[in-house]
Subunit: 296 residues, 2 copies
Amino acid sequence: MEQRITVIGLGLMGGSLARALRPHLAYLAGVDRDKETLEKALAAGVIDAGTCHLPHNLTPHDFLIFATPVRTILQLLAELPTHCPDGCWVMDLGSTKQTICAAMEQLPASFAAIGGHPICGKEKAGFSASDADLFWQKSFVLTPTSRTTTALWQMAKQIVQWIGGKLVEMPAQLHDQLLAATSHLPYLVSATLMQTVAELAQTEPQTWQMSGSGLRDTTRLAGSDPTMILDILLTNHQAILPHLAAYQQILGQLVTLLTQNDSQALAEWLLQAQKGRLSYEQTLFSPPKQIGRGDS
Amino acid sequence: MEQRITVIGLGLMGGSLARALRPHLAYLAGVDRDKETLEKALAAGVIDAGTCHLPHNLTPHDFLIFATPVRTILQLLAELPTHCPDGCWVMDLGSTKQTICAAMEQLPASFAAIGGHPICGKEKAGFSASDADLFWQKSFVLTPTSRTTTALWQMAKQIVQWIGGKLVEMPAQLHDQLLAATSHLPYLVSATLMQTVAELAQTEPQTWQMSGSGLRDTTRLAGSDPTMILDILLTNHQAILPHLAAYQQILGQLVTLLTQNDSQALAEWLLQAQKGRLSYEQTLFSPPKQIGRGDS
């Protein structure tokens, strides 16, 4: 008998996953605490059945994919053994992986569990922002745990393939360290900028009128869902703080050069930034390599 | 006899202006130190004549529009009286306005001069990135000087209208203060982030693979032309430094909250940023009002 997939949390990530999986599954269930979201997902034919809470009749044939904010995933994983005494399959799409994978390792041996994180997103949250193409050609990290069985690994790989993701296998710790720099730091930088300019706008009404695509793009992340971000910060602050310190140091150097109006050193500082962007851009337009367990 | 327009500097801004003005003018000249750029602009029919240096036979019928980096504009303005002893009309598209308008005020009384700055751009420089639609529905600041005649003001307004810009009249000092926050600070924030992540990428080769649209958009400005940015920093550092200090303070608060893992205060900090973005977004999708000399 096949595993029966249930996506828990039908927001941007879970809703997009359900939409992308839909053509590949005869049956797909959804869980969301918001009734309206369930109704929308049912009406759109994205799920076949929906409930507001984790079903009580879970069996080893159930494959639960958690797509809620990180701390909700941790809470649900802790409750899972009482809902499902015989175990089941578990995967997640949480933005940080160490705390979640540690919680997965604590599940009884009857559970099979693997961490997942698609490297994509939008600053808009909710089912209405969900999109079947969200994962297309984007990196999808799988972080195996001691609870990852061969059958679950194969199924997780199958899911990544179905939704068009680029599989990257990576330990949870490295994932959290890298994402702290490539995702969490950009958010914090963007949110700090947004607060700084918004404060000015309160006394200078023409501020927004004087802004172009630069401010628009650089502050886009500041619009992200605070609940999702809070959970990321609380579960990954130890990886984020060193990157923030490095950022503050480079910013401090800039302030010194600017205060001294040091033309030559400023020119070098600017070139360094442009050089970084150019080397990053080279990777933006060449899709990441498939990295798997030597079998992909 | 009509004014004969010459655009000086056929990069992104000047090239775009020439393209946008082209349908409205019987004759349009261009100046660029790069011969290949001149040949491209001539071949594309964007200009009727091109030279590598300011023409020597300038007359009061010439209308020069400077579209080079700020310090080059300052240098050319200083040389102008020897090129054109009888005066002419002058406008510019420079990113900072105080030093340029001050230099315009120093021109002999036979010159008519006005500062200009279209609030738009791309992180790509050069004629090949130029686009006739660059100014469409974007704010275009005009900063009148004591050298601004009524005839020049009318012509400058006409140009803004032809290229589809939204006219905003503003004193040079306020322009520079607001742009320091809405344009120069975002660039510096973006460039600092780019340097921080690029440094990590040198030791962690999977860094770029772990990046999504968030890092891409937040570091877009870091790819800007260093020459243009250097001139902005050197001519506007006094307006930029207070905004940088405000930014550093908000970032410092964040580091404290994150170090303390203060869940409630972090949640409020995140909400504040999202609130700022939402109020900014409301203005993004309603075009700025026309603000002129009571006649527009």
